[in-house]
Protein backbone atom coordinates (compact mmCIF):
# COMPACT_ATOMS: atom_id res chain seq x y z
CA UNK A 1 0.00 0.00 0.00
CA UNK A 2 3.06 2.23 0.30
CA UNK A 3 3.78 1.97 -3.40
CA UNK A 4 2.17 5.21 -4.41
CA UNK A 5 3.58 8.55 -3.29
CA UNK A 6 1.57 9.97 -0.44
CA UNK A 7 -0.46 13.11 -1.01
CA UNK A 8 0.62 16.25 0.81
CA UNK A 9 -2.48 15.97 2.98
CA UNK A 10 -1.50 12.46 4.07
CA UNK A 11 2.04 13.55 4.90
CA UNK A 12 0.69 16.51 6.84
CA UNK A 13 -1.59 14.27 8.84
CA UNK A 14 1.32 11.98 9.65
CA UNK A 15 3.52 14.95 10.54
CA UNK A 16 0.84 16.25 12.87
CA UNK A 17 0.96 12.92 14.65
CA UNK A 18 4.69 13.35 15.17
CA UNK A 19 6.10 11.61 12.10
CA UNK A 20 9.17 13.74 11.39
CA UNK A 21 10.08 11.61 8.39
CA UNK A 22 6.76 12.50 6.79
CA UNK A 23 7.50 16.17 7.27
CA UNK A 24 10.94 15.61 5.78
CA UNK A 25 9.22 14.24 2.69
CA UNK A 26 7.14 17.41 2.49
CA UNK A 27 10.28 19.52 2.79
CA UNK A 28 11.96 17.49 0.06
CA UNK A 29 8.95 17.95 -2.17
CA UNK A 30 8.69 21.72 -1.81
CA UNK A 31 12.17 22.93 -0.94
CA UNK A 32 13.19 23.97 -4.44
CA UNK A 33 10.24 26.24 -5.08
CA UNK A 34 10.49 27.52 -1.53
CA UNK A 35 14.15 28.51 -1.90
CA UNK A 36 13.44 30.20 -5.22
CA UNK A 37 10.48 32.08 -3.80
CA UNK A 38 12.58 33.23 -0.87
CA UNK A 39 15.28 34.29 -3.32
CA UNK A 40 12.80 36.43 -5.22
CA UNK A 41 11.65 37.99 -1.96
CA UNK A 42 15.02 38.71 -0.36
CA UNK A 43 17.50 38.74 -3.25
CA UNK A 44 20.30 36.85 -1.58
CA UNK A 45 20.98 33.14 -1.98
CA UNK A 46 22.29 32.44 1.50
CA UNK A 47 19.54 34.49 3.13
CA UNK A 48 17.00 32.66 0.98
CA UNK A 49 18.37 29.36 2.20
CA UNK A 50 18.17 30.41 5.84
CA UNK A 51 14.73 31.95 5.38
CA UNK A 52 13.44 28.77 3.76
CA UNK A 53 14.82 26.54 6.49
CA UNK A 54 13.30 28.79 9.13
CA UNK A 55 10.04 28.87 7.18
CA UNK A 56 9.84 25.09 7.15
CA UNK A 57 10.44 24.98 10.90
CA UNK A 58 7.79 27.63 11.54
CA UNK A 59 5.36 25.85 9.26
CA UNK A 60 5.94 22.65 11.24
CA UNK A 61 5.27 24.51 14.47
CA UNK A 62 2.05 25.87 12.95
CA UNK A 63 0.81 22.60 11.42
CA UNK A 64 -1.86 22.24 14.06
CA UNK A 65 -3.46 25.42 12.70
CA UNK A 66 -3.18 24.44 9.06
CA UNK A 67 -6.55 23.78 7.45
CA UNK A 68 -6.59 20.16 6.36
CA UNK A 69 -8.46 20.91 3.12
CA UNK A 70 -6.12 23.70 2.03
CA UNK A 71 -3.12 23.24 -0.29
CA UNK A 72 0.14 23.08 1.63
CA UNK A 73 2.50 24.68 -0.87
CA UNK A 74 1.10 28.24 -0.98
CA UNK A 75 0.59 28.25 2.77
CA UNK A 76 4.21 27.27 3.22
CA UNK A 77 5.37 29.84 0.68
CA UNK A 78 3.53 32.57 2.54
CA UNK A 79 5.50 31.77 5.67
CA UNK A 80 8.73 31.63 3.67
CA UNK A 81 7.99 34.93 1.91
CA UNK A 82 7.33 36.59 5.26
CA UNK A 83 10.59 35.29 6.60
CA UNK A 84 12.52 36.35 3.52
CA UNK A 85 10.97 39.82 3.45
CA UNK A 86 11.86 40.35 7.06
CA UNK A 87 15.44 39.40 6.35
CA UNK A 88 15.57 41.73 3.38
CA UNK A 89 14.09 44.51 5.47
CA UNK A 90 16.60 43.91 8.24
CA UNK A 91 19.40 44.14 5.71
CA UNK A 92 17.91 47.29 4.16
CA UNK A 93 18.34 45.79 0.73
CA UNK A 94 16.47 45.79 -2.56
CA UNK A 95 16.20 42.45 -4.27
CA UNK A 96 16.39 43.02 -7.97
CA UNK A 97 20.07 43.11 -8.67
CA UNK A 98 20.44 39.52 -7.57
CA UNK A 99 18.65 38.21 -10.64
CA UNK A 100 21.17 37.02 -13.19
CA UNK A 101 21.59 34.45 -15.90
CA UNK A 102 22.96 30.98 -15.24
CA UNK A 103 26.55 30.58 -16.39
CA UNK A 104 25.92 27.16 -17.79
CA UNK A 105 22.71 27.97 -19.57
CA UNK A 106 22.03 26.11 -22.81
CA UNK A 107 23.83 27.29 -25.91
CA UNK A 108 20.69 29.09 -26.89
CA UNK A 109 22.23 31.95 -28.81
CA UNK A 110 23.32 29.65 -31.60
CA UNK A 111 20.50 27.18 -31.66
CA UNK A 112 17.07 28.28 -30.45
CA UNK A 113 14.87 25.36 -29.57
CA UNK A 114 12.24 24.29 -32.04
CA UNK A 115 9.54 25.26 -29.57
CA UNK A 116 10.88 28.77 -29.43
CA UNK A 117 10.94 28.72 -25.65
CA UNK A 118 14.56 29.75 -25.36
CA UNK A 119 15.01 33.47 -25.55
CA UNK A 120 17.55 34.98 -27.87
CA UNK A 121 20.36 36.69 -26.02
CA UNK A 122 19.29 40.22 -26.81
CA UNK A 123 15.67 39.70 -25.82
CA UNK A 124 16.74 37.85 -22.70
CA UNK A 125 19.12 40.55 -21.56
CA UNK A 126 16.57 43.24 -22.26
CA UNK A 127 13.93 41.45 -20.22
CA UNK A 128 16.31 40.74 -17.35
CA UNK A 129 17.44 44.36 -17.25
CA UNK A 130 13.83 45.50 -17.11
CA UNK A 131 13.04 43.03 -14.33
CA UNK A 132 15.97 44.35 -12.33
CA UNK A 133 14.64 47.86 -12.66
CA UNK A 134 11.16 46.99 -11.41
CA UNK A 135 10.12 47.69 -7.85
CA UNK A 136 10.39 44.82 -5.39
CA UNK A 137 6.65 44.24 -5.22
CA UNK A 138 6.20 44.18 -8.99
CA UNK A 139 9.11 41.81 -9.41
CA UNK A 140 7.86 39.49 -6.68
CA UNK A 141 4.37 39.10 -8.09
CA UNK A 142 5.70 38.62 -11.62
CA UNK A 143 8.33 36.22 -10.34
CA UNK A 144 5.89 34.07 -8.39
CA UNK A 145 3.38 33.90 -11.22
CA UNK A 146 5.53 33.66 -14.33
CA UNK A 147 9.04 32.68 -13.28
CA UNK A 148 7.99 30.10 -10.70
CA UNK A 149 4.72 29.42 -12.47
CA UNK A 150 2.58 29.45 -9.35
CA UNK A 151 -1.12 29.65 -10.08
CA UNK A 152 -2.95 32.88 -9.39
CA UNK A 153 -4.47 31.33 -6.29
CA UNK A 154 -1.08 30.14 -5.06
CA UNK A 155 0.46 33.52 -5.76
CA UNK A 156 -2.33 35.19 -3.82
CA UNK A 157 -1.81 32.98 -0.80
CA UNK A 158 1.96 33.21 -0.97
CA UNK A 159 1.84 37.00 -1.05
CA UNK A 160 -1.05 37.28 1.37
CA UNK A 161 -3.39 39.12 -0.95
CA UNK A 162 -6.86 38.36 -2.30
CA UNK A 163 -6.91 36.54 -5.67
CA UNK A 164 -8.46 39.57 -7.36
CA UNK A 165 -5.62 41.70 -6.15
CA UNK A 166 -3.12 39.37 -7.80
CA UNK A 167 -4.85 39.88 -11.14
CA UNK A 168 -4.82 43.65 -10.85
CA UNK A 169 -1.32 43.75 -9.48
CA UNK A 170 -0.01 41.50 -12.23
CA UNK A 171 -1.67 43.67 -14.82
CA UNK A 172 -0.03 46.78 -13.41
CA UNK A 173 3.33 45.06 -12.97
CA UNK A 174 3.33 43.81 -16.55
CA UNK A 175 2.49 47.30 -17.69
CA UNK A 176 5.41 48.71 -15.77
CA UNK A 177 7.66 45.96 -17.10
CA UNK A 178 6.64 46.88 -20.63
CA UNK A 179 7.27 50.57 -19.98
CA UNK A 180 10.62 49.75 -18.45
CA UNK A 181 11.57 47.65 -21.46
CA UNK A 182 10.54 50.46 -23.77
CA UNK A 183 12.75 52.73 -21.72
CA UNK A 184 15.63 50.31 -22.03
CA UNK A 185 15.18 50.12 -25.78
CA UNK A 186 14.97 53.89 -26.15
CA UNK A 187 18.25 54.44 -24.30
Amino acid sequence: MEGRPLEDSELIERARRGDIGAYGELVQRHQEVAVRTAYLACGDASEAEDATQEGFLKAHAALSRFRADAPFRPWLLRIVVNEARNRRRSAGRRTGLALRMAEDRPADDAAPSPEGVVLAAEARDELLAALRRLGDDDRLVIGCRYLLELSEAETATALGVPPGTVKSRLSRALGRLRMTMDGEVAR
Partner: protein
Protein backbone atom coordinates in the same frame (compact mmCIF):
# COMPACT_ATOMS: atom_id res chain seq x y z
CA UNK B 1 15.28 50.00 -32.13
CA UNK B 2 12.90 52.87 -31.63
CA UNK B 3 9.50 52.40 -33.17
CA UNK B 4 9.42 48.70 -32.36
CA UNK B 5 5.99 47.44 -31.40
CA UNK B 6 5.69 46.99 -27.62
CA UNK B 7 5.16 43.43 -26.47
CA UNK B 8 1.65 42.57 -25.44
CA UNK B 9 0.96 40.77 -22.17
CA UNK B 10 0.89 37.32 -23.75
CA UNK B 11 4.27 37.88 -25.38
CA UNK B 12 5.74 39.22 -22.17
CA UNK B 13 4.44 36.22 -20.23
CA UNK B 14 5.88 33.81 -22.79
CA UNK B 15 9.28 35.48 -22.54
CA UNK B 16 9.16 35.43 -18.76
CA UNK B 17 8.44 31.71 -18.81
CA UNK B 18 11.40 31.14 -21.10
CA UNK B 19 13.63 33.33 -18.96
CA UNK B 20 12.80 31.31 -15.86
CA UNK B 21 14.72 28.29 -17.13
CA UNK B 22 17.78 30.40 -17.83
CA UNK B 23 18.06 32.25 -14.54
CA UNK B 24 20.79 31.44 -12.04
CA UNK B 25 18.49 30.22 -9.29
CA UNK B 26 20.23 29.37 -6.02
CA UNK B 27 21.12 25.71 -5.69
CA UNK B 28 18.63 23.87 -3.54
CA UNK B 29 20.38 22.55 -0.43
CA UNK B 30 19.30 19.47 1.49
CA UNK B 31 16.88 21.31 3.68
CA UNK B 32 14.91 18.14 4.33
CA UNK B 33 17.86 16.66 6.17
CA UNK B 34 18.51 19.82 8.14
CA UNK B 35 14.90 20.38 9.06
CA UNK B 36 14.27 16.84 10.19
CA UNK B 37 17.52 16.85 12.17
CA UNK B 38 16.48 20.09 13.85
CA UNK B 39 13.04 18.68 14.63
CA UNK B 40 14.42 15.42 15.96
CA UNK B 41 16.82 17.16 18.30
CA UNK B 42 14.54 20.10 18.95
CA UNK B 43 13.11 19.31 22.36
CA UNK B 44 16.39 18.37 23.96
CA UNK B 45 18.26 21.21 22.30
CA UNK B 46 15.68 23.78 23.34
CA UNK B 47 15.78 22.58 26.91
CA UNK B 48 19.55 22.86 26.88
CA UNK B 49 19.54 26.21 25.08
CA UNK B 50 21.73 24.88 22.31
CA UNK B 51 19.38 24.84 19.39
CA UNK B 52 20.99 25.31 15.99
CA UNK B 53 18.46 26.51 13.46
CA UNK B 54 20.71 28.27 11.03
CA UNK B 55 23.05 27.13 8.31
CA UNK B 56 25.69 29.54 9.46
CA UNK B 57 24.92 29.59 13.16
CA UNK B 58 24.68 33.36 12.98
CA UNK B 59 21.72 33.54 15.31
CA UNK B 60 23.98 33.41 18.37
CA UNK B 61 23.00 33.07 21.98
CA UNK B 62 20.37 35.78 21.91
CA UNK B 63 19.04 34.48 18.67
CA UNK B 64 18.61 31.18 20.45
CA UNK B 65 16.68 32.97 23.13
CA UNK B 66 14.34 34.28 20.51
CA UNK B 67 13.93 30.76 19.24
CA UNK B 68 13.19 29.61 22.74
CA UNK B 69 10.54 32.26 22.96
CA UNK B 70 9.23 31.09 19.61
CA UNK B 71 9.02 27.56 20.92
CA UNK B 72 7.97 24.63 18.84
CA UNK B 73 5.88 21.54 19.03
CA UNK B 74 7.93 19.82 21.66
CA UNK B 75 9.57 21.09 24.79
CA UNK B 76 7.71 24.38 24.74
CA UNK B 77 6.99 24.50 28.44
CA UNK B 78 10.54 23.55 29.28
CA UNK B 79 11.79 26.15 26.84
CA UNK B 80 9.72 28.89 28.43
CA UNK B 81 11.08 28.09 31.85
CA UNK B 82 14.59 28.18 30.46
CA UNK B 83 13.79 31.46 28.75
CA UNK B 84 12.88 33.20 31.98
CA UNK B 85 16.10 32.17 33.62
CA UNK B 86 18.17 33.03 30.61
CA UNK B 87 16.53 36.40 30.03
CA UNK B 88 17.13 37.50 33.58
CA UNK B 89 20.75 36.42 33.32
CA UNK B 90 21.26 38.27 30.08
CA UNK B 91 19.52 41.54 30.79
CA UNK B 92 22.71 42.97 32.20
CA UNK B 93 24.46 42.12 28.97
CA UNK B 94 21.66 43.65 26.97
CA UNK B 95 21.96 46.97 28.73
CA UNK B 96 25.57 47.25 27.68
CA UNK B 97 25.15 46.07 24.14
CA UNK B 98 23.75 47.62 21.03
CA UNK B 99 21.03 46.28 18.78
CA UNK B 100 20.33 43.08 20.61
CA UNK B 101 17.04 41.34 20.15
CA UNK B 102 14.88 39.41 22.56
CA UNK B 103 11.38 38.47 21.79
CA UNK B 104 8.03 36.93 22.08
CA UNK B 105 6.93 35.35 18.81
CA UNK B 106 6.04 38.08 16.36
CA UNK B 107 7.75 40.80 18.36
CA UNK B 108 11.40 41.69 18.28
CA UNK B 109 12.85 44.05 20.83
CA UNK B 110 16.07 45.79 20.01
CA UNK B 111 17.98 48.05 22.32
CA UNK B 112 19.81 50.80 20.52
CA UNK B 113 19.77 54.57 20.26
CA UNK B 114 16.59 55.96 18.79
CA UNK B 115 18.69 58.13 16.53
CA UNK B 116 19.48 55.03 14.50
CA UNK B 117 16.16 53.87 13.18
CA UNK B 118 15.85 50.72 11.17
CA UNK B 119 16.93 51.63 7.64
CA UNK B 120 13.73 50.53 5.98
CA UNK B 121 11.44 52.26 8.42
CA UNK B 122 9.39 55.06 6.99
CA UNK B 123 9.04 58.34 8.80
CA UNK B 124 6.41 58.37 11.48
CA UNK B 125 3.29 60.35 10.98
CA UNK B 126 2.18 61.70 14.33
CA UNK B 127 -1.29 60.75 15.28
CA UNK B 128 -3.60 62.25 17.84
CA UNK B 129 -2.03 63.46 21.01
CA UNK B 130 -1.71 61.20 23.97
CA UNK B 131 -1.13 61.51 27.68
CA UNK B 132 0.90 58.37 27.96
CA UNK B 133 3.88 60.14 29.44
CA UNK B 134 4.26 63.27 31.51
CA UNK B 135 7.76 63.98 30.36
CA UNK B 136 7.67 63.68 26.61
CA UNK B 137 5.73 64.92 23.65
CA UNK B 138 3.17 62.31 22.97
CA UNK B 139 2.99 61.02 19.45
CA UNK B 140 0.42 58.29 19.45
CA UNK B 141 1.66 54.75 19.13
CA UNK B 142 -1.51 53.45 17.58
CA UNK B 143 -1.39 53.80 13.80
CA UNK B 144 -4.18 55.29 11.74
CA UNK B 145 -7.20 53.21 10.86
CA UNK B 146 -5.84 52.48 7.40
CA UNK B 147 -2.96 50.57 8.95
CA UNK B 148 -4.99 48.80 11.57
CA UNK B 149 -7.26 47.44 8.90
CA UNK B 150 -10.96 48.07 8.50
CA UNK B 151 -13.20 48.73 11.44
CA UNK B 152 -15.35 45.69 12.11
CA UNK B 153 -17.81 44.47 14.68
CA UNK B 154 -16.55 42.40 17.56
CA UNK B 155 -18.45 39.40 16.19
CA UNK B 156 -16.77 39.82 12.80
CA UNK B 157 -13.37 40.00 14.47
CA UNK B 158 -14.11 36.83 16.41
CA UNK B 159 -15.16 34.92 13.32
CA UNK B 160 -12.43 36.28 11.06
CA UNK B 161 -9.43 36.19 13.34
CA UNK B 162 -8.67 32.52 12.79
CA UNK B 163 -7.77 32.11 16.45
CA UNK B 164 -9.60 32.49 19.71
CA UNK B 165 -9.85 36.21 20.34
CA UNK B 166 -9.13 37.14 23.94
CA UNK B 167 -10.96 39.97 25.71
CA UNK B 168 -10.33 41.56 29.09
CA UNK B 169 -12.68 40.23 31.73
CA UNK B 170 -14.21 42.08 34.64
CA UNK B 171 -15.00 45.77 34.56
CA UNK B 172 -11.43 46.93 34.01
CA UNK B 173 -11.45 48.31 30.50
CA UNK B 174 -15.07 47.93 29.53
CA UNK B 175 -15.98 47.32 25.92
CA UNK B 176 -13.61 48.31 23.13
CA UNK B 177 -14.58 51.53 21.42
CA UNK B 178 -13.29 50.22 18.08
CA UNK B 179 -12.31 46.83 16.71
CA UNK B 180 -10.09 46.46 13.63
CA UNK B 181 -9.27 43.33 11.66
CA UNK B 182 -6.57 43.05 9.01
CA UNK B 183 -5.15 40.19 6.94
CA UNK B 184 -6.47 36.79 5.99
CA UNK B 185 -6.27 33.86 8.40
CA UNK B 186 -3.87 32.70 9.67
CA UNK B 187 -2.08 35.99 9.03
CA UNK B 188 -4.72 38.12 10.71
CA UNK B 189 -4.23 40.78 13.31
CA UNK B 190 -6.95 42.21 15.54
CA UNK B 191 -6.64 45.58 17.28
CA UNK B 192 -9.03 46.45 20.10
CA UNK B 193 -9.07 50.14 20.95
CA UNK B 194 -10.17 51.36 24.37
CA UNK B 195 -10.50 54.82 25.91
CA UNK B 196 -7.40 56.59 27.20
CA UNK B 197 -5.26 55.56 24.26
CA UNK B 198 -5.23 51.94 25.26
CA UNK B 199 -4.82 49.34 22.54
CA UNK B 200 -4.75 45.55 22.71
CA UNK B 201 -3.38 43.85 19.59
CA UNK B 202 -3.59 40.10 18.99
CA UNK B 203 -2.14 37.86 16.28
CA UNK B 204 -0.53 34.47 15.72
CA UNK B 205 3.04 35.46 16.43
CA UNK B 206 4.79 32.25 15.45
CA UNK B 207 3.89 32.65 11.79
CA UNK B 208 4.12 36.44 11.62
CA UNK B 209 7.69 36.92 12.69
CA UNK B 210 8.62 40.47 13.51
CA UNK B 211 5.13 41.78 12.94
CA UNK B 212 6.22 44.41 15.41
CA UNK B 213 9.73 45.48 16.05
CA UNK B 214 10.50 47.61 19.02
CA UNK B 215 13.59 49.74 19.13
CA UNK B 216 14.21 51.02 22.60
CA UNK B 217 16.86 53.40 23.76
CA UNK B 218 19.01 53.24 26.86
CA UNK B 219 16.43 55.09 28.96
CA UNK B 220 13.88 52.38 28.45
CA UNK B 221 13.32 49.52 30.82
CA UNK B 222 12.56 46.08 29.44
CA UNK B 223 11.52 43.83 32.27
CA UNK B 224 10.62 40.16 32.02
CA UNK B 225 7.31 39.52 33.72
CA UNK B 226 4.91 36.68 34.27
CA UNK B 227 1.45 37.12 32.85
CA UNK B 228 -0.55 34.30 34.37
CA UNK B 229 1.21 31.18 33.13
CA UNK B 230 3.03 33.00 30.32
CA UNK B 231 6.27 34.90 30.04
CA UNK B 232 6.24 38.44 28.78
CA UNK B 233 7.97 41.81 28.83
CA UNK B 234 6.98 45.10 30.38
CA UNK B 235 8.47 48.02 28.48
CA UNK B 236 8.39 51.46 29.99
CA UNK B 237 10.46 54.58 30.44
CA UNK B 238 11.91 56.64 27.63
CA UNK B 239 10.12 56.72 24.29
CA UNK B 240 10.62 53.66 22.16
CA UNK B 241 10.13 53.31 18.47
CA UNK B 242 7.78 50.75 17.08
CA UNK B 243 8.24 49.46 13.59
CA UNK B 244 4.83 48.24 12.62
CA UNK B 245 4.15 45.87 9.76
CA UNK B 246 0.72 46.30 8.23
CA UNK B 247 -1.04 45.46 5.01
CA UNK B 248 -1.89 48.25 2.63
CA UNK B 249 -5.15 48.22 0.65
CA UNK B 250 -3.46 46.12 -2.04
CA UNK B 251 -2.45 43.59 0.57
CA UNK B 252 1.23 44.45 0.41
CA UNK B 253 3.31 44.42 3.55
CA UNK B 254 4.33 47.91 4.55
CA UNK B 255 6.32 49.22 7.45
CA UNK B 256 5.82 52.36 9.44
CA UNK B 257 7.73 53.66 12.39
CA UNK B 258 5.96 55.33 15.27
CA UNK B 259 7.25 56.48 18.61
CA UNK B 260 5.45 55.16 21.65
CA UNK B 261 5.83 57.02 24.91
CA UNK B 262 3.58 54.84 27.02
CA UNK B 263 3.95 51.46 28.58
CA UNK B 264 3.72 48.28 26.59
CA UNK B 265 3.16 44.76 27.82
CA UNK B 266 3.86 41.93 25.40
CA UNK B 267 3.25 38.26 26.05
CA UNK B 268 1.71 35.21 24.51
CA UNK B 269 -1.22 33.02 25.37
CA UNK B 270 -1.00 29.72 23.56
CA UNK B 271 -0.24 30.58 19.96
CA UNK B 272 -1.55 34.14 20.25
CA UNK B 273 0.88 36.99 20.77
CA UNK B 274 -0.55 40.04 22.52
CA UNK B 275 0.64 43.62 22.71
CA UNK B 276 -1.04 45.85 25.29
CA UNK B 277 -0.26 49.53 25.01
CA UNK B 278 -1.53 51.46 28.01
CA UNK B 279 -1.02 54.41 30.34
CA UNK B 280 -1.72 52.03 33.23
CA UNK B 281 0.99 51.16 35.73
CA UNK B 282 2.55 47.72 35.62
CA UNK B 283 0.39 45.95 38.21
CA UNK B 284 -2.81 47.35 36.76
CA UNK B 285 -1.74 46.34 33.26
CA UNK B 286 -0.87 42.85 34.46
CA UNK B 287 -4.27 42.61 36.12
CA UNK B 288 -5.95 43.43 32.84
CA UNK B 289 -3.72 40.98 31.00
CA UNK B 290 -4.43 38.12 33.34
CA UNK B 291 -8.16 38.79 33.08
CA UNK B 292 -8.22 37.97 29.37
CA UNK B 293 -10.69 35.27 28.46
Amino acid sequence: MTGRRPLDDAELIERLGALSGQLAWPATPDLAGRVTAALESGAAARAAGTIDRGRSGRTGVLGRLRELAGGGLGGRRVARRSLVIAVIALLAIVVAAAAIGLGVPGIRIELRPLASPTPTATASAPGPSSSLSDAEPTPRGTPPDSELGPKVSLDRARSGAGFGLLLPGGAGLGDPTEVHLTGNAPFTRVALLYPDHTTLTEFLGAIQPDAFQKVVGPGTTVEPVRVGASDGYWITGAPHDLLLMYLDPDGLSRFRQVTVTGNVLIWEVGAVTLRFETPLAREAALAVATSLR
